[in-house]
Structure formats: structure tokens, C-alpha cells
């Protein structure tokens, strides 16, 4: 069992994802905005963060949170991040697995919405597995 945090402004999606992950035995917290998520993470770092990219106030708030977590000296620097996005790779913000690097997009993996919940569960299991 792991402590997971889902950061997504869409409560319906986050709730569905949380239910599946809870059924898999994880403890799941949901946060609907990145500032609240960061505050909670700093109190109790999760084992893995599932993070959306776009939020109502900022199109790239998910990127910002990921970069903030990865800044030098951050206690959250080692927390794995699985990024979710509803933007298809064909759009300007699109990115592929080759773009995942520590500087530009400091996340460990990503999934494109709509998310197959089985695939989400498999990714989470794989990311939590010891190297």
C-alpha cells in the first residue's frame, strides 16, 4: 500500500481514479488545485503524485508544481510524478516520452486523458516498484 496524491481540478475524474487506486489497496488523497496540493505535500510527502497539467488559473500549473517539487533541496524532489493531460500530442503543448527530461518536464511518466484506469493502475504499480 502506498500514499498517493491525485492533483486534478476535475473532481469527477479524480474521484474515479481514486476509487480504482483505493480498490487496489492504496491510500489516496485528492487535491483540486496545485497550491493546496503543495501545502499538503509539504506536511506529509506522498509516495507518488498523479498530476494534471492544466488548471483553471494557469494553463501550465501542473508543470510549475512539478518543477517546484524538483527544485534543488526540495524534500519532494524524489517523489515520483505521473503526469496526466487532456491535450493530445498533436497540439502545441504536446509532448512525447522523449521530452521527459529533468529540466524541461521533470516527471517520471505521463498518460494521456481519457485514461484507461487499468493502465493507470499498472503505471502506478510499476512506478512504485523498487528499481
Amino acid at each position: 500500500m502506498a500514499n498517493l496524491m491525485i492533483v486534478d481540478d476535475d473532481a469527477d475524474f479524480a474521484g474515479a481514479a481514486a476509487k480504482v487506486l483505493q480498490a487496489a489497496g492504496h491510500d489516496v488523497r485528492m487535491e483540486l488545485d496545485t497550491a493546496a496540493a503543495l501545502a499538503r505535500m509539504e506536511q506529509a510527502p506522498p509516495d507518488l503524485v498523479i498530476l494534471d497539467v492544466m488548471f483553471p488559473e494557469d494553463n501550465a500549473a501542473g508543470f510549475e508544481l512539478a518543477r517546484h517539487m524538483r527544485r534543488e533541496g526540495s524534500p519532494l524532489a524524489q517523489v515520483p510524478i505521473l503526469m496526466l493531460t487532456a491535450i493530445n500530442v498533436k497540439f502545441p503543448l504536446g509532448f512525447g516520452s522523449q521530452d521527459i527530461d529533468d529540466i524541461w518536464l521533470p516527471v517520471d511518466d505521463f498518460l494521456e486523458k481519457p485514461v484507461d484506469l487499468d493502465a493507470l493502475q499498472q503505471k502506478v504499480t510499476a512506478m512504485l516498484a523498487p528499481p
Binding site: A86, N88, P114, V115
Partner: protein
Amino acid sequence: MSEPSTSEPGTYELAAGSAVGLSGRDGPVASRGLPEALLVRNALWFCRRRWVIIGILLAFGGLSYVPGLFAHVGWRPDRLWPLVVAAVLAVDNTAFRWHARRLAAGKGGAGARSNLWAQIVSDLVVLTVVVHFTGSLETHIPFAYLLHIVLACIFFSRPASLVVLGLACALYTGCVLVEWAGLVEPTGVYADDVLRRQLLDRPRLLATNVISAQAMWLVVWYLASRLSAMVRARDDELAEANRRLSQSLRERAEHMLRTTHELKAPFASIDANVQLLLKGHCGDLPDEAVEVLGRIQARSRRLAVEIQEMLQLANLRSASDQPPPPARLDLADVVTACLDQLDPSARKRGIVVEKQIAAAPVVGVEDHLRMLLGNVLANAVAYSEPGGRVRATCSPLPEGGARVTVRDDGIGIPADKLPHIFDEYYRTDEAVRHNRESSGLGLAIVRHVAREGGVRVAVTSRPGAGTTFDMHFPPRPPMGREARP
């Protein structure tokens, strides 16, 4: 990260709408000077031109040592002053150039205007010395002041260039008055000083001569400063139009991004919740309910894809006048990425995808090429029979560019319907019967991208035997688009 919001009241006033048009030729823009960076470039240009003047003075001084050379045309120049003036100008110019280069390197702050002022004032003083020694009354040398007056019109605002005109008039008038009063011995390059003496002996004629010359300078200043202000106003208009265009492109990209997200996100939520029900997370459901949920899921996924394709097409259409900058890329990578993306759906239907991919460098917009190839490859899989075969090849062309072929042995397209397949929302009856999920926009997207990128697309098909898309990608997009490194 943004700062957490506070409970303190805040005030925000919406900025008044800018109703300013692109005109304003006679407005404040006409009195503005040039931007700092351009002034620095002008200061350096001014220094380069001054070396030419220094060269002419040195040549003039040097040639005056050749016996009889100037005497032949009735000149008798002093041998020393051209060399002294050239030396003074060289020292000045070295200092101005050093300062201007510091400014260009961003080390000197905002001093370009001062640099140009110093250059012009110093030149006017030196020119007055040259005017004196050349002959302030009997030669045309006073018209050399016009050079600096016109340059001031180009570099500075109209009031500032008027100051330069005033300074030039004052220096020239001062020179003439000093000579006329006998404070300085009148001199000149002409061997015969009759003309000079006649003018000095007739004060009214002298005054008329000096005033008429300066009246002409005034006319030249008026025309040059007016033209310069008009050109500058036009530059400002173009810069403003360019700024607005860039801003509008940024806003459009942002809008497309946000719209896509806002339209797709609800489907992601519907899809996730339907999955919850279908996978039994909310308890067992009767078979009929599972069937209904399956239909809901299929339709919501189809609608999400349709929305995405409509947005892509709208984006391509609106981007036609200002397409994204192309970049150097390997088309093989794009084909491979599209095939990888398609792999799950091909496997699901038991379709074998064969590929023969070779590196093929081209210049293009990667997102657009992905749309084009992704749609062609997706169609090949979608319109193949289960267990069918799709073959994709990518190879460089000997003359540059690349060729990509996508061949399937699917349902095919009747010959009379081929000319319409790139039309928006067009779908053949056979295609609708085979695959109800398509939006009919995929090949319209292909047509737009191909047209923008200069890609030649040939389609060969036979009903029941399959379809081949043969695409020739040019080494670089059509004229007018620069590639990013």
C-alpha cells in the same frame, strides 16, 4: 508557484479599450526619436562614414604638397590645416566609436543619443574651421552643414533637429562675422581673393548671401524632418501592427489549448466513471446496463476524437497565414511515432503492420506532419479487414526530401469517389458501413497540411483490394518559411 491568495480586498480596473487605429502620422509619433538600439547602430555608422571624410582631408592635405597640382585649377590651399583637422577628427572618431561600441555591447547604458549629439556638435565645430579655411563666402562649402542637418532629421525628433539647424546657422554666421570684423584673417582655397573681398566690402550683399544660404538650409530641414517623421510614423505603425499580430497569435494558441482542454476534459471524466461502472467498482450491473454503458463510452470517445479533429482543422485553417515555424527533423521518427501510437488499435483488430523505415531528413512542422501521417496510417488500419495487413515505408529521395507510402489491403475506394475523399465530412457509403467511428475530417486535415507543407499526395485504390497513399515530402517547405536550427 503562485503566491497563496490573501483575504485582503483587492482592486482591479479593466484597462480602457485601445481604440487607437494604426494611423497617427501627425500625432505624437512624429515627434519621437528612434529607439536606443537603432541610435547605437546609427552612431557606429556615423563613425564609419567619418573615416571617409578623414581620408579625403588627408588626401587633400597630402596632394597640396604636390607642386603646381592645385595651382593648375586656381587653388592655393594651406598645406597644414587639412592634416590638423584630419588628426582632430581621427581622435574624436576613435573616442566616439569606442563609446558607441560599449553601448552596442550593453555596457554604457542609454547613451546613444548623447553620443550622436556629441558627434554632431563636434562635427559642426570642426566643419566651421574647414569652412573658414576653405572660404566661407566664395565657395559652396557652407552647404556641407546640410549633411549634419539632414542626419539630425533622421536621428532625432523634429525639435532636436531644429536645434542642430540653429547651431549650424549660429556657427556659420559667427564665422562670417568674425572674418568680416577682422578678428580672424579671412582665407580660402582660391588663389584669387577678389570675390571674397568684394563680399566683405559690401555688408548688405554679404548679409543677403549668408541669409539666403541659411534660408535654403531651413527649407531642406523642413522637408527632411517632415519626411523623416512620416517614415518614422510608418515604422511605428508597422511595429505596432507586428506586435498586435504576435499577440493575437499567442492568444489564439492559448485559446486553442484551453478550448481543447475544456472540451476534452469532460469526456475524460465521463470515460473514467463509465470504466468504474463497467469494471464493477460500483457493484454488479445487469448485462443490459453494461451494454448501454459500452455504447455511452464508445460515443463519448468518438465525440472526443471528433472535437479534437474539428479543432485541429480550425487551427490549421486559421494558421494558414501565419503557420508555425518549420524545423529540421527526420521523417522516419515521425512515421515511427505515429505507428507506435497506432499499435494498440492495430493489435486489437489483429492487423499486421509491416514497416520499412529509413532515415529521411526534411524541414517541416512536426505537429502538422504527425497529423498528416497519423491520419493516413489510422485510416489504413481502420479500413482494413480484421487480420489484414498494412505496409508503411519511408525513404529519402535522391533529390532531397522523402517519400512515404502507406498501403493496405482493406475495403478500398471506388474510382468515382476518390476525388471527394479529401472533402470535409465526406465519407463513402462503404466507409460508413465498415467504420462508423470516423468523423470524416481526417483526410481534410491531411489536405490542409499537405497544401501548407508542399506535400504531394497520390491515392491509388481498388474496391475490395485496398488503398495506397504515396506521399512526396519536399526537402523544405514552400518559399517564405524559415527553418529553425
